[in-house]
């Protein structure tokens, strides 16, 4: 199939799906284009002048992509990007088709794609990226992938199909072990955290990769930050945390930002990043490491991150009438624990609505709720309400954590209305949904409160 013909057809489909419905159209053009010409992605990607970057891992893909885009955008780079969530092969192809001209040329000079872990083999082969960032690997939609080791193997397969510069999280044992897939061991940069000001949760059950990849024995930790993130070594000496080229020391936290000192391959830099939580310190370190590998100076990269907005659904502040809602997406126990630690642990008597769905995009297995440290909140007297398809499971989980549920309602619009109505005038509420629950919540809130820019 001639390239230009495929582009033409895919662009027509893109246009049609835009006219027919909002929100749609981010996967279909790619799907059709790949049917017409399976090599379309590869052929188009090869035409991006300065090549492509892939960002993958369980938590932080969308946020880190946003950070990298800010840093590179400030340097005048024009980027081809896929939409958040459209991170399978067809989503990447759709983005390529959308940005390419009818003549198959790009005005952008670099590609930046967040890629689903399971799509890595196909997308790596397609893009032949110049750099791959792997952030972390936690349990997420296990029912889709089977096991974490399987996910790691898929990413490894992707890495092995390229000659890319690797940027790997050193504090995650499974991610660090991916260095073994590098075509050239010299093209690996590790990033990590020296220490964290946050005390680990007493009942953190989210450590998923705590055994040695060689012998299966439990790793020994000299420092542990959250989940299995920390400084570790195999008791028999098979494997330990690699030396970092980019590391964050001196970290301080508040509700809205982090302040940090970092060492970027020998250059000492310090500054403030406008996103909260230890997890965003990791995303920052990954961004600094990638920027460094692209020749961006650490000081100016960090400066770019001073003013950055949260990604879609990740701690969004919404004004609904005279009340304020914080919308915070949760997808897995590690992310949920980070929300608890960053926003709820040091407060009392807050109004909280947890919305749990078990649709495919949420992960159909909700057993992960039992690994979230709700017990830590038992003494904080927060007022909790539950909603969503699995509201009763959420209420049950809270019961066993010693936390009563104030109100339970399966239907999300009804639950939101009830939640907002009972907030005191000028009050604040925390809405914590899973993925499809977030989409439905945003949709309903946007319509009811005529919020602009909330839907895209």
């Amino acid at each position: 199939m001639p390239l230009l013909f495929t582009i033409f057809i895919a662009k027509i489909i893109l246009l049609a799906s835009r006219i027919l419905g909002r929100g749609g159209g981010s996967a279909l053009p790619g799907l059709v284009a790949e049917k017409l010409d399976p090599s379309i992605g590869h052929r188009l990607a090869a035409r991006i002048p300065h090549g492509s970057i892939i960002i993958t891992g369980t938590n932080g893909k969308t946020t880190t992509s946003k950070m990298v885009a800010k840093v590179l955008g400030d340097r005048g780079e024009k980027l081809v990007r896929n939409r958040a969530g459209s991170n399978l092969s067809r989503g990447v192809v759709s983005a390529l088709v959308e940005h390419a001209s009818f003549g198959g040329r790009f005005k952008e000079n670099m590609g930046l794609f967040e890629v689903d872990e399971a799509a890595m083999p196909a997308v790596c082969r397609m893009l032949q990226p110049r750099a791959i960032v792997v952030l972390n690997l936690f349990r997420d939609q296990l029912d889709r992938y089977g096991e974490l080791d399987t996910t790691a193997r898929l990413i490894g397969k992707g890495i092995g199909a390229t000659n890319a510069q690797l940027i790997l999280g050193a504090d995650d044992p499974l991610v660090a072990s991916l260095a073994g897939y590098a075509a050239d061991p010299k093209k690996v940069i590790f990033f990590g955290l020296d220490r964290s000001p946050q005390k680990p949760l007493a009942s953190d059950a989210t450590a998923d990769s705590t055994t040695c990849p060689k012998c299966g024995r439990a790793l020994k930790y000299s420092r542990r930050f959250y989940g299995h993130m920390g400084h570790y070594s195999c008791p028999l000496g098979h494997f330990d945390r690699p030396q970092t080229q980019v590391n964050i020391s001196g970290l301080s936290l508040n509700d809205e930002s982090i302040t940090l000192n970092a060492n970027v391959d020998g250059q000492k830099v310090s500054g403030q990043v406008g996103l909260p939580g230890v997890y965003n310190a990791y995303n920052t370190a990954a961004t600094l490491a990638l920027s460094h590998s692209l020749g961006v100076d650490g000081e100016s990269a960090l400066h770019s991150l001073h003013q950055i907005e949260a990604a879609f659904g990740r701690v969004e502040k919404l004004e609904v009438g005279d009340k304020t809602l914080y919308l915070m997406l949760v997808k897995n126990p590690t992310g949920f624990n980070q929300v608890i630690q960053t926003f709820l642990l040091d407060k009392k008597e807050q109004e909280i609505l947890l919305i749990i769905n078990d649709n495919f995009a949420d992960g159909r297995d909700i057993s992960w709720l039992w690994d979230v440290s709700f017990e830590e909140l038992a003494s904080r007297r927060h007022a909790l309400q539950v909603a969503g398809i699995r509201a009763s499971d959420m209420a049950l989980r809270l019961k066993y954590a010693g936390i009563p549920t104030r109100h339970s309602q399966t239907k999300i619009p009804k639950a939101l209305k009830h939640f907002i109505d009972q907030l005191p005038a000028g009050g604040t509420g925390y809405v914590i949904p899973t993925y499809t629950a977030m989409l439905e919540s945003r949709h309903w809130l946007a319509r009811r409160y005529k919020l602009k820019g909330i839907w895209r």
């Binding site: 450590a207 024995r217 690994d371 989980r397």
Partner: protein, 245 residues
């Protein structure tokens, strides 16, 4: 001199290899056992075994083992052999045990991987597990002598029971032991093996109470335990059983 307070009845729960087999919310099962004891005024002490570590199986009133990844299972399979005799003795003696997924497989005669390697088990169940390329994932509902159990399964091993091995129940929805026989789990004395996680005990409180009662009967001679308000548990079980496989 005042009389000493009556000593609280308390159970010692042994959690097998939580460091190596820990990925399917199994912690929820331990939480459920501990809370349901506490709500009735009983104490609980949870002890843990580790690969290479010391543990006295004889101290345990109730034993739990969960599921993990293949790599954890290899290390556990080797280490479990050290305790095989003690665990069999406890099983014969009526100590209640709940084994899920990976531990269930190792409580049978062994696990033969796709590559043809066999990780030996400890043979409490007359069952053998074969690796397969198909992953059996989804919501699952099983009819058992306790009534209905609901949960979620996620395994690629197919467990085949010998003719005289009693299953835990019959699959109503889902795959169960092997996706073909219609059987789910295995029972020997008060030892239960199953693929249900989710975790299994919170939404199946009658099953949790059966394990607790078996332990309390064996240790203190109790013949029944106080009922609890399980309305929320039953609601969650109903909602889960209505979800598609």
């Amino acid at each position: 001199m005042s009389k000493p307070a009556p000593k609280t009845k308390s159970l010692t729960i042994l959690h097998l290899y939580p460091g190596e087999l820990n990925i399917y919310g199994d912690r929820g099962n331990i939480l459920t056992l501990v809370q349901r004891l506490a709500w009735r005024g009983y104490g609980a002490k949870v002890i843990r075994s580790t690969v290479g570590g010391q543990v006295d199986i004889g101290r345990a009133d109730l034993i739990f083992g969960g599921g993990g990844q293949d790599r954890g299972q290899v290390a556990v399979g080797e280490d479990l052999q050290r305790h095989g005799v003690d665990l069999q003795r406890a099983a014969d003696d009526g100590v209640p045990m709940l084994t899920i997924c990976g531990t269930y497989q190792l409580f049978g005669s062994g696990f033969t991987t796709l590559e043809g390697q066999t990780i030996p088990g400890i043979g409490i169940f007359k069952a053998h597990t074969m690796g397969s390329t198909e992953r059996m994932i989804g919501n699952v509902v099983v009819d058992t002598s306790f009534g209905q159990l609901v949960g979620f399964e996620n395994h690629s091993g197919r467990t085949l029971l010998e003719a005289d091995q009693q299953p835990l129940g019959v699959v109503k929805k889902g795959f169960g032991n092997d996706g073909r026989s219609g059987m789910e789990g295995a029972v020997y004395n008060s030892v239960y093996g199953t693929y249900l996680h989710g975790p299994v005990l919170p939404k199946n409180p009658h099953f949790a109470d059966a394990l607790l009662l078996a332990a309390l009967r064996r240790k203190y001679g109790l013949t029944d335990i106080e009922p609890l308000d399980d309305a929320l548990e039953q609601q969650a079980a109903r909602d889960a059983s209505r979800r598609p496989q």
